[in-house]
Symmetry: C2
Subunit: 343 residues, 2 copies
């Protein structure tokens, strides 16, 4: 027996991935008969012996993973959860969901619960500055993947959307239609997507030579009500914006309702572009122009990375592209809005 | 020491609920200092001794409960989950969510996971006929509460909406406006709400002397696409309905999109009423008339019942009322639709 033979050697000899080799040797059901035969033959040939401690850990697997979403009522995170869960089930892993409710203390509570429940790994859309249990998890080397959001200073693989590209698509779209005063409804600075989208917005405003009036910048909390509050503030300005860009879907819906209550029409008096494409956004009044990422793909990719890490592999972070889906909400031109200066 | 002194006696002497007495005596943190003092004094006075086996069970508590929703992407279930979770946290219980994805096999998988994870109890929006793990759970006397849906033949406390009342409100509203041919987009007969709403619809049609043409009855699966398919089928009839009633929110959105694709206008050419009020339904084009139940209250009430059962109490089933919220989608009158007979 050669003690230096690794799982990687077995996988290479068998012509399968390290993950597959690991699953076969740990008796996992999600493997094909052909793969099982090849891996076992390779292990015998090479004299591979599973490390006793690794074996013990492996046999102690719960085959459950934890997924901590920021807000279970945000359809964007529900789509992430669905994508992650279906990918996990295809590898015989089950997903336990928990809801941080955009609250750092609640995030800590659930990370603790996941550890107590001995999940094999955790996917999290994190918030806060990474103190508390998030740091403890990293130090305990619990397999961990960030989805949608990241926390600076963590060496954790992540699957995120290309926020800078998304903001640029939105601003370029509005600039092309002649808008120079775009009101920005951003996310909270405590969340990486809140920070990344704001800095991308400031850069895009400079790049397109638009009005960089600081009064055009507001921040909400990724919840519906805060989008309405932000829109009210922007529209109360003596020179209101002619277009709005909302950094998430729920805030966009809040802004839409607020604008309507003021007797203005989105798509006619005021343009609106939102982050995140939710499946019913095309049925809103008016249909919303969005910069979209595929939430289901975010969830599925994050789960694939996590299963790789659980199987002892390494995972590279992935950035998924965004795309613009123009609909009627951004059809308003600036001169239309200029005819309503008293709003 | 009097072996016949029960927890109930201690609670009565201390002037607190059985649940509170149980929490104090099991060292649970979610108790007030005053309650702790009174319960401990009462236990000493009465010579109460915690049953050893009960004590063992109690100390083995995970303080985690499982919540199995039918479809995590349905905002109605996300609201139920949020209500349940906030109620649990207020009693120092955490909630592990899982998604059955409207699939009985996946439901069985997650019930099994919850047992493996040793949750203290389970809330489920069940589907299927109650074979498999659901029956096993009941037989193992795992604290169990049904929410939104029930399964016949189970002696399990439930929190449901008054489906018959909801359907009657919707049908009466449409009948008042002169509609006699109402197309029904129902849920699957394998789900109790699917069956209950269909039978309530048939009764309401008879009560209001409306057209009982069987061609007006269709069934979807509580998913968006099925609402579109059902609407297409209804509108293809040589005498199409002048109003639609959709038995859930996602099917209503599917029907809305299908009607629009056919060049018809909901609220003008055709009336639409939907079950479930989702927070953005008022922003749809047109705003949707709904029969609403308070999903958050359903979740919160179910969690209160479950915590009572976990604490050794009994729980009575609760039926929550529904109410009609009229909006523009039901403004269409039958004569308008009659001018489009060729659709």
């Amino acid at each position: 027996m050669d003690a230096t033979v690794t799982l990687k050697d077995v996988a290479a000899r068998a012509g399968v991935s390290v993950g597959t080799a690991s699953r076969v040797l740990s008796g996992h059901s999600a493997t094909s008969p052909a793969a099982r035969e090849r891996v076992r033959a390779a292990a015998t040939e090479l004299g591979y012996r599973v490390n006793a401690r690794a074996q013990a850990l492996r046999s102690a697997r719960s085959h459950a993973v934890g997924l901590l979403v920021s807000d279970v009522r945000n359809p964007f995170f529900a789509d992430i959860a669905h994508g992650a869960e279906q990918t996990a089930l295809a590898s015989s892993y089950v997903t336990l969901l928990a809801n941080a409710n955009e609250d750092t203390a609640q995030q800590d509570t659930y990370l603790d619960v996941f550890l107590t429940q001995r999940v094999d790994g955790i996917i999290i859309a994190p918030q806060g500055e990474g103190r508390g249990n998030l740091r403890a998890l990293e130090e305990a080397r619990v397999p961990l993947v960030f989805v949608d959001r990241v926390v600076d200073g963590f060496d954790v693989p992540s699957v995120t959307a290309d926020n800078a590209q998304g903001v640029e698509l939105a601003v370029a779209h509005l600039a092309e239609q002649g808008h120079t005063r775009i009101g920005y409804i951003g996310g909270p600075p405590s969340v990486s997507t809140g920070r990344a989208r704001l800095s991308a917005f400031l850069e895009a405003v400079a790049r397109h030579h638009l009005d960089d009036d600081p009064a055009l910048i507001t921040a909400g909390d990724f919840r519906r009500a805060s989008g309405g509050t932000a829109a009210a503030k922007l529209l109360a300005h003596h020179r209101p914006p002619t277009a709005l860009l909302a950094a998430d879907s729920l805030m966009a819906v809040g802004a839409l309702a607020e604008v309507r209550q003021r007797g203005l029409r989105i798509g006619e008096d005021l343009a609106l572009v939102a982050f995140d494409d939710i499946e019913w956004f095309g049925e809103l009044d008016p249909p919303l122009t969005v910069v979209a990422h595929d939430a289901r793909a975010l969830g599925a990719t994050a789960m694939r990375l996590l299963l790789d890490v659980i199987d002892g592999g390494t995972a590279e972070s992935v950035v998924l592209p965004m795309r613009l889906i123009p609909r009627r909400s951004s059809a308003a031109r600036p001169h239309t809005a200029a005819s309503h200066p008293s709003v």
